[in-house]
């Protein structure tokens, strides 16, 4: 247990540090799916581990243990050192403000995207054109019909500058790229990864990594759809260069050059071994988390049994003698 409970924390650290680089080495579709799965799994399990570690230490306080009808004598001999528990508790508290801030940001952006999708639900065509000097396009995800909520169809939005900058074949490649985002539901991967980063700020680099992977994925899909890698590379290059006078210092998403480079090269290799390795790491993290939860439960069962044995003959004065009566029965609670 002592190893298993820390494994998700280690996984979050490793994923946060190495995830983006690993993603870049995998084919984009595989990278998107694996990074998203890894982010969600490590976010959930690492927070669960921190909560378990903190809980195991908090319960050492005799009053709290008595409240939970757990033998504090058993809890004191628990597998987690007070230091580890205290660090976990402080980490949980320290992560909270970041999580709140990231959560608010994600909520605002999602609400904005929702308003955008809703504003377009009345739009008569699947493409909307906005007059703007910047060459840009984006895919507005739809929302399937839900109870009490009409379906919102998907839309592609492009600026008139982009349409004028590209030639006919390049426009078709650009549309294929945006259509790929919608068909593959890339917004769901982005939403999940962003949620994971909200839960565990160690994963703050993952949303950008998955954004990058989905862009490359849509590029590869579009290249297949139009049967030509170079035409999309030229569409990207031409549109990006046309925006150049308005350039700001490189932001998180600045990887147009990398995407053009990838499109001018042959399709990415599969790298099955690396993908399998990441898959195994995810599975091990899940297993470790479940195993540590199960062992914690067993440990609590032991503490509960010890409490009941200690209090079988002393129900008339429950807590006063609890501590002294506990001890002789510890031997029984050790198995």
């Amino acid at each position: 247990m002592t190893v298993n409970i820390y494994l998700p924390l280690l996984a979050a650290l490793v994923l946060g540090a190495a995830g983006p680089a690993v993603g870049r080495r995998l084919p984009p579709a595989v990278a998107t799916v694996l990074l998203t799965a890894a982010a969600v799994v490590t976010a959930v399990t690492s927070v669960a581990s921190l909560a378990l570690l903190t809980g195991l230490i908090v319960l050492r306080v005799p009053e709290i243990a008595a409240e939970g009808r757990l033998s504090d004598a058993v809890l004191m001999r628990g597998p987690v050192s007070p230091l580890a528990g205290a660090v976990a508790g402080i980490a949980l508290l320290a992560l909270l403000p970041f999580a709140v801030r990231a959560g608010i940001r994600l909520w605002r952006e999602s609400a904005r995207t929702y308003r955008l999708a809703k504003a377009f639900s009345a739009h008569p065509a699947s493409i909307a054109v906005i007059q703007d000097p910047r060459a840009q396009a984006f895919a507005v995800p739809g929302i399937p019909s839900l109870p009490g909520h009409a379906a919102i169809p998907t839309r592609i939005v492009a600026t008139d500058s982009l349409l004028r900058t590209l030639d006919e074949a390049q426009r078709r490649a650009m549309f294929a790229h945006e259509q790929a985002h919608l068909r593959r539901r890339h917004h769901l991967y982005l939403l999940l990864t962003n949620l994971a980063a909200v839960a565990n700020p160690l994963l703050w680099r993952l949303p950008d990594a998955v954004t990058e992977a989905t862009e490359r994925w849509a590029d590869e899909d579009a290249a297949v759809a139009v049967g030509d890698r170079e035409v999309l590379a030229r569409a990207l290059g031409r549109a990006a260069l046309s925006n150049l006078p308005r350039t700001v210092p490189a932001m998180a998403q600045a990887h147009v050059g990398q995407r053009v480079r990838a499109l001018m090269a042959p399709p990415p290799p599969r790298r099955r071994a690396l993908a399998v390795l990441v898959g195994i790491a995810i599975a091990v993290t899940v297993w470790a988390s479940i195993d540590s939860a199960r062992e914690t439960e067993n440990f609590f069962d032991t503490a509960r049994n010890a409490w009941h044995i200690a209090h079988e003959h002393t129900t008339e004065h429950p807590t006063a003698h609890a501590q002294s009566v506990d001890r002789p029965h510890l031997v029984g609670g050790r198995d």
Partner: protein
Amino acid sequence: MATGRRPSGALEQEVLAALWAAGRPLTPAAVQEQVGGGLAYTTVKTILDRLHEKKMLTRVREGKAYAYTPVVEQSDLAAEAMRAALEGSTDRPAVLSKFLGEISPDDAAVIRELLGDSP
């Protein structure tokens, strides 16, 4: 490549995009030429008619045919929402996939090196 089957909505997108790109009214014959990809004249004409019915195009008579012009987005709500999404391009986007991120000087150099000065 150009004659491959296209997903639904794609033709509509291409026709509308061609009209926007042209910057002047186009007749169905001109649109057919611009869109390419072996589209039949009647197909182009049907799409133009449909877009006109949806009030996304205006048309004026030009000789024997109509010449079509795209209509600027009417809904203030949609236009405002689009602009908000565009403004967001300097922010780290969460769920909206944009065609282009910000371009850095390095990107520009890479693109010029790979594609030449006029891609």
